[in-house]
């Protein structure tokens, strides 16, 4: 397997280089997509399927699609020659940084990761058996809450900056409709499954949300879903709902137990599932909106 790993590492480097050195935007984005997939693969190799899934879906897929869409709307890049000296300096500095990092990695004292025993010890009290979910939604739920805020902030940002009009994809042909008829319910199903699975195995709200978003995007490209036609309020409310549920749950827990985000004894799983459910919907809607670039205020002309 070591050979595969080495090849994978080399391939990642090559993909990164091709993304950076591509003369036009499309080529660069293609390089980026490949790069993202390879990285997702490497996550799998590192026994982190959650991360691999998220990377593939969001980091590579959604981002790549966004980039492609943006590239189509932009003027061709100006011929901006970077001076040779600057390039050389950058290379030198990058090598220096890399060298420093390499030294650091070589020198790692092999510190005991304190979390493993802690998580293992407390997993029983967390209400779920998947340690990742336990960390995300119980032990370090505060981080997750704030990450949802990041997502929302990104959405607000896009809303503030977004283009004046939204793209109106052409209605796809009759071949596409049957596909959608299967795809859409399936994505909901898969999302639900992932959500439920998250309690015991890799999976959870982020993955479920990504899948849900995939389904929605399929509808969108098929012309079945036109966010621009939907009044702004509900969509935004959908985006915010999950986060709001999370925050409300945090406060409710505080009211009930006296500690923020400390779920009542024994009911951990219910709480986590409820929160995750909200998050799934929210993430799906948010990712969709991020993609379609809805202006705040929605379809208000």
């Amino acid at each position: 397997m070591i050979v595969f790993d080495l090849m994978l590492a080399a391939a990642i480097l090559v993909a990164g280089w091709s993304a950076l050195s591509a003369p036009d935007r499309t080529g660069a984005i293609a390089g980026f997509l490949v790069f993202g997939l390879l990285v997702a693969l490497s996550w799998v190799r590192l026994d982190a399927p959650d991360v691999a899934l998220a990377e593939a879906a969001i980091g590579s897929g959604l981002t790549g699609a966004l980039m492609l869409r943006a590239a189509g709307r932009m003027a061709p890049p100006a011929a901006d020659r970077v001076p040779r000296a600057q390039r050389a300096a950058a290379a030198l500095l990058a090598c220096g940084l890399a060298g420093g990092l390499a030294v650091a990695v070589m020198d790692l004292p092999g510190a005991t990761i304190v979390y493993d025993p802690l998580v293992r010890a407390d997993l029983g009290q967390s209400g779920v058996s998947n340690p990742v979910t336990a960390v995300l939604l119980n032990f370090r739920a505060w981080d997750t809450l704030l990450e949802m805020a990041v997502l929302l902030a990104a959405l607000v940002l896009v809303a503030a900056l977004g283009p004046r009009g939204t793209p109106r994809p052409a209605r796809l042909g009759p071949l596409y409709t049957p596909f959608l008829r299967i795809m859409a319910p399936l994505s909901v199903l898969v999302a639900g499954h992932l959500l439920w699975l998250g309690a015991t195995a890799p999976g959870g709200a982020f993955q479920a949300g990504a899948v849900l978003c995939g389904g929605l995007l399929a509808l969108y490209f098929g012309g079945a879903l036109r966010p621009a036609a939907v009044p702004a309020g509900p969509l935004w409310a959908l985006c915010a709902a999950g986060v709001a549920v999370f925050a409300a749950a945090a406060l409710a827990a505080e009211v009930l137990t006296g500690t923020l985000l400390a779920y009542p004894d024994g009911a951990d799983k219910i709480w986590i599932l409820a929160i995750e459910g909200g998050l799934t919907v929210s993430i799906g809607a948010t990712l969709l909106l991020l993609f379609t670039g809805l202006r705040q205020g929605g379809a208000r002309a």
Binding site: A90, A94, L97, G99, A104, P109, L118
Partner: protein, 577 residues
């Protein structure tokens, strides 16, 4: 007779001064100027001297008192000031700036009268300065180029004198620990202090070589002002010296010799310079220098021979009083001459002027004769070694005075008539002549029994007449024409007429550009390009530094790398670490 409070001596002219501040009251005030010195005169003439006065709150603690010497000085000064005030009122009747003159006159009067009764340093110095500075206004009054020049020289010397006086008085006060003027004459006062004080007074007295201001000022000032300048104010210097020098108490032959040398120089130089003057007032001024030098001589002898001092003091007072009246009468006569046409009126005036002139020359029977005799007698007691040249010096003085008088009369006789001089000036002059004749009888002077007149007393006058005749003849025969030099002797070389307004301060060159803001560039925010480079550089540098740098000392943490504390998570909310 009612007792007159001493503060009225300087207070009366000051009060009048305040009257001048009211425009409506000016006419009255002008008329009252001649009577302003009246309280001073009354105080001086009172049979019982007014009681001393202590005003602790005033200045540095003011003490006023009238000494015996002071009474004499006060008497003739007051008379002179009254005459000058009267004369000025008549002379300047058409002068638009006469109020200014009156104010200066009153200020100077206050100062002069006040210093004669002041007993403490503060008020004495204040009165002295008041007199000196206000006289500046008297000198400057005419406003011509000569006045401006004379004023400049005058004020320079006056300020110099003030400053020297200030320094000396301050040192003296510090040494004695009191503020009383008379204490300066006590032993223990540093010689430097006395020397400084003496310089201040000698400038005022007009001792050679500190006399340079005197002829200029006297000739530039209006006649009444010259009268008081010469008659009263020079005497203030004498009065000061008599008060502060330890006369009669210590033997100071060096200081005495120095003073005597200055005096003799004055006695000899004054006639020589005076004779070549073309302005009668300048000639009279030089005569004043000679007379004052005579008094300085007396002081010098007094310093060198303390035993002679009592007699000299008497003689000096006599001399001062006599000179005051005589010189005032002569100065007041000058405008009268100008106002009268050539012919018998002028002859009459010149005849009247001859009386004080005769007194000045020291003809027997006149006040001058009395005074000169007194000084001669007193000085004769002086140091034996000095006798050899004292007598010739005194003779030279008399001769010089006589020559100067003749020169003055010659000039006056030929002076053109001046239409702008009012005739009213004759009356004060007449009174002045009267005072000159009767003067010493009116005021409380120490008695001196004059010896009988001898023909040799007339010798100076005779010799002077002969010299004059000779000179006249020589001039006529040789057909030379004397061009009188400007008054002021050496200093005349420095006179600049007219003085253009000097460009003293050139404007600073315009500064271009702003000092603090460097040159501006068009786009100072074009940095984003190299931003990535900066990030990389920073991170790399820090990372490399972190690797390269040795481990900080003392960081050997024994717990490093050790497993984390026991796994059980504390449930208490307060748990931190």
């Amino acid at each position: 007779m009612i007792e007159l409070p001493l503060f009225l001596v300087p207070g009366a002219p000051l009060a009048l001064l305040i009257l001048f501040a009211l425009p409506q009251a000016r006419a009255t005030a002008r008329a009252l100027v001649p009577v302003a010195p009246l309280p001073a005169l009354l105080a001086a003439l009172a049979p019982v001297a007014p009681p001393p006065l202590a005003l602790d709150w005033l200045l540095l603690g003011t003490r006023l008192a009238l000494t015996e010497t002071g009474a004499t000085f006060l008497a003739f000064s007051a008379l002179l000031w009254a005459l000058a005030g009267w004369g000025a009122e008549r002379l300047l009747v058409r002068d638009p700036a006469r109020d200014r003159f009156s104010v200066c006159l009153l200020l100077a009067m206050t100062g002069n009268l006040g210093l004669l009764v002041a007993q403490d340093l503060g008020s004495f110095y204040a009165f002295f300065a008041m007199m000196s500075l206000a006289s500046w206004g008297l000198v400057l009054h005419g406003g011509g180029a000569a006045q401006v020049f004379a004023g400049r020289i005058y004020i320079a010397f006056a300020i110099l004198g003030e400053v020297a006086l200030f320094a000396g008085l301050a040192m003296g006060a510090f040494a004695t620990g009191t503020y009383m003027l008379a204490d300066l004459a006590q032993p223990g006062v540093p010689p430097l202090a006395l020397a400084l004080v003496a310089v201040g007074f000698l400038i005022k007295l007009g001792a050679v070589p500190l006399h340079l201001w005197l002829p200029l000022a006297h000739s530039a000032a209006p006649a009444p002002a010259s009268a008081v300048l010469s008659g009263a104010m020079l005497k203030a210097g004498l009065f000061g010296l008599m008060t502060v020098l330890p006369l009669g108490a210590v033997v100071a032959p060096e200081a005495g010799a120095l003073l005597a040398a200055m005096a003799v120089a004055g006695l000899l130089i004054a006639p020589l310079l005076g004779l070549v003057q073309g302005d009668p007032k300048a000639v009279l001024a030089y005569s004043s220098i000679g007379q004052m030098s005579l008094m300085a001589l007396g002081l010098g002898v007094g310093l060198a021979a303390p035993e002679a001092w009592p007699a000299i003091a008497v003689a000096l007072v006599l001399l001062a009083a006599h000179h005051a009246f005589a010189k005032a009468a002569l100065f007041l006569g000058v405008p009268v001459v100008w106002a009268t046409g050539i012919g018998w009126p002028r002859a009459l005036v010149l005849g009247a002027m001859a009386l004080p002139a005769a007194a000045l020359i020291g003809l027997p029977g006149t006040s001058g004769g009395l005074a000169k005799d007194a000084i001669k007698t007193a000085v004769a007691v002086g140091p034996g070694a000095w006798a050899f040249w004292l007598a010739p010096a005194l003779f030279a003085a008399s001769l010089g005075t006589a020559c100067l008088m003749l020169r003055a009369f010659a000039l006056l006789a030929a002076a053109p008539i001046r239409a702008e001089v009012p005739r009213g000036v004759a009356l004060p002059f007449a009174v002045a002549v009267g005072l000159g004749v009767a003067g010493l009888a009116l005021i409380p002077v120490p008695t001196h029994a004059a010896k009988a007149a001898v023909p040799s007393d007339l010798l100076p006058l005779a010799m002077a007449a002969a010299l004059a005749a000779l000179t006249l003849a020589a001039v006529r025969l040789a057909r030379v024409r004397l061009v009188p030099p400007a008054p002021g002797g050496l200093l005349a070389a420095f006179e600049q007429v007219p003085v253009p307004a000097p460009v003293l301060a050139l404007p600073a060159p315009e500064r271009r550009g702003r000092a603090l803001a460097p040159r501006r560039r068009r786009r100072p925010d074009g940095l984003a390009q190299s931003g990535g480079l900066a990030i990389l550089g920073m991170a790399a540098a820090l990372a490399l530094a972190a690797v390269m740098l040795p481990e900080p000392a003392g960081s050997a943490n024994p717990t490093s790398g050790a497993p984390a504390p026991a796994a059980a998570p504390a449930q208490s909310p307060a748990a931190g670490d």
